[in-house]
Symmetry: C2
């Protein structure tokens, strides 16, 4: 129990900008002079139209999206996208390429398999425990899409550059690094991201979709599983997750107006992760787990000399107000998730704690 | 723009209990002494386990659910359930009965059609513009389920009693009246409800599912579209809509602890709707649109002598702090949605306004 806010290194749901939380709190009983909470206003009202259209406009400005792209909001997280992507875009002899960089890619591949859609795993880093991002990938000619997971939260790896796919559109799960850096959108057919790491609360997935992908898409699918349903109705075929979209709008506003856009956001993220990686590299007590050229700016995974020390580290850190440092339950170890909203202050506090913990436990 | 809260008659998203909103607001920066917002805590933490398990336990106590039932949380609203129900429960020669009582039933039927699943519309009230609930329905023998929509928000009709289906489990969309009255759960195989009317914010759908329905359910479906995925993982196969589930927990707590349970909730709802219906019946200026024996306790639909007067009525009501009284865009007219959270105070204010509007515009 604490009456103060902690430094939150959770992998997701994760820290949100304090200013965003304060904005939500202060207007929670009366949104924008409506006399209603944001959770009580109609999605068919001008109040909500303004929210969703502002969120879309900000996403477009930040990523410099032109009119080739839809910005959609879908429920069900990235996990539902794993299924919707092959369901919508693969039919008959179509084939899709998948790159397997860990748990989330593996799950995406599984959902193509379940639907018995043609797909090929063109590269995998499973041979070295997903500790790196594959290069020189032999992409199929004429594939409908190439599926990538831009950042692996569990192993702490990230595509530092996106591969050349010979013009095949990349469909990319960016749940853990969307809006953390500028993107060359010419490479992408679709980007999707569960909101709960870099964007807002869980329960809303942003889908950025190049319109031409809809043209050859499968028809006669259930309405809620068809991208066209969302594109045709500005994501309001049925009641959208209004609170999530509202929070996303505030987060994008914060990135745009407080942080200064994606180039500045990336510079800040490089500085934050750099501080932590440099500290770890400088000593021998901690060691990182990801290959240097594949390291994530979002999730810094590291180990201590023993599992007992890792347990003690997490426990003492938690007691000192540094939360969420336990590694993913599937791999153990430690992990600091430092998405956009993580502050330099929190990184500095973590490094100080790590320094004194190392001294005490050498 | 108002600095006061209005009387909110929105059809959904709709009014929530003020106490619930105040609870959310006051702890929004620090949930339960965690030092994090409810939107920032891990769904794998003991903090969130407590929330989801409390919500489930309260739902079970309120509806007197025994161990035959799962309480699940799914994203995608009732609209995704329209698709998931036939997808999971119908295969081969299986047939399902559907009763068509309006827009939402029609949409549910459409999703069975899209998947080319055997289904039969065994009754419909379309012949009289969905103004009543059919009786003496010729249910199929041996159907897998009977699909009903308990309350039609658009036409203001409601099943006042549920039919005898010869033991075939009812699968019921209760988005607009769940937890508004006690239920005889022996009749139901599944109840589902988008949260945004009687339960919480949009983006979370509660699914109450009798476990034996899972036994014959289709396998090899996409993971996020299989009920078993939710049942096996306490609705946390992937990150659930945490804020929605948290709000639902608070709403159920309010029903249980402040309102005194479902029998008392129903009595209050009868009193509220009664005040409004009695007032309308007593005069000739307003007229209800639903047949008396099929009237909804949740959505009171009514007309004025002319469409011009209806426009003026909605505009003047809005200006007087009575919001959301416009009928659904597909039917016009007026509608007061008075779900659980609508207070007697709001109904009294509405009746007073209606009285003076009628006097001025006779």
């Amino acid at each position: 129990m604490t009456d103060q806010r902690i430094f939150n290194f959770n992998a997701g749901p994760a820290a949100l900008p304090l200013q965003v939380l304060e904005d939500i709190q202060s207007s929670f009983l009366n949104f924008n002079g409506s006399g209603m909470s944001i959770t009580e206003i109609s999605h068919r009202s001008s109040y909500f139209d303004e929210v969703i259209n502002d969120a879309i406009a900000r996403a477009k400005r930040l990523l410099k999206l032109d009119d080739r792209f839809h910005v959609l909001f879908v429920q069900g997280g990235a996990s539902l996208q794993f299924a919707m992507i092959p369901m919508n875009f693969l039919s008959g002899d179509d084939i899709a390429d998948y790159v397997n960089t860990g748990t989330w890619s593996t799950k995406a591949i599984k959902e193509a398999q379940i639907q018995q859609k043609n797909h090929r795993v063109v590269a995998s880093s499973e041979d070295r425990d997903f500790s790196y991002i594959p290069t020189d990938i032999p992409f199929s000619k004429g594939a409908k899409y190439v599926h990538l997971t831009s950042n692996n939260t569990i192993k702490g790896t990230q595509f530092q550059e996106f591969p050349d796919t010979n013009g095949v559109p990349i469909v990319c799960d960016m749940s853990s690094d969307i809006f953390s850096r500028p993107l060359d959108m010419d490479k992408f057919g679709m980007i999707y991201a569960g909101a709960q790491k870099n964007l807002g609360p869980s329960g809303t997935c942003m889908v950025i979709l190049r319109k031409d992908l809809l043209e050859g898409a499968n028809a006669d699918l259930p309405s809620m599983l068809t991208y066209d349903t969302y594109a045709a109705k500005n994501s309001m075929y049925n009641t959208p997750p209004c609170f999530g979209i509202y929070t996303i709008d505030l987060v994008l506003k914060w990135i745009e107006e407080q942080m200064g856009g994606l180039a500045q956001m990336e510079a800040y993220n490089i500085k934050k992760a750099g501080l932590l990686y440099d500290f770890i590299e400088a000593g021998s007590f901690y060691r990182t787990t990801a290959q240097a050229d594949s390291r994530s700016l979002m999730n810094v995974t590291f180990r201590l000399p023993s599992e007992d020390l890792e347990k003690l580290f997490v426990a003492q850190a938690t007691a000192s107000g540094l939360g969420g440092l336990k590694g993913h339950r599937s791999v153990g170890g430690c992990r600091a998730s430092i998405y956009n909203a993580a502050t330099m202050e929190s990184i500095t506090a973590l490094v100080q704690f790590m320094e004194s913990f190392a001294k005490e436990n050498k």
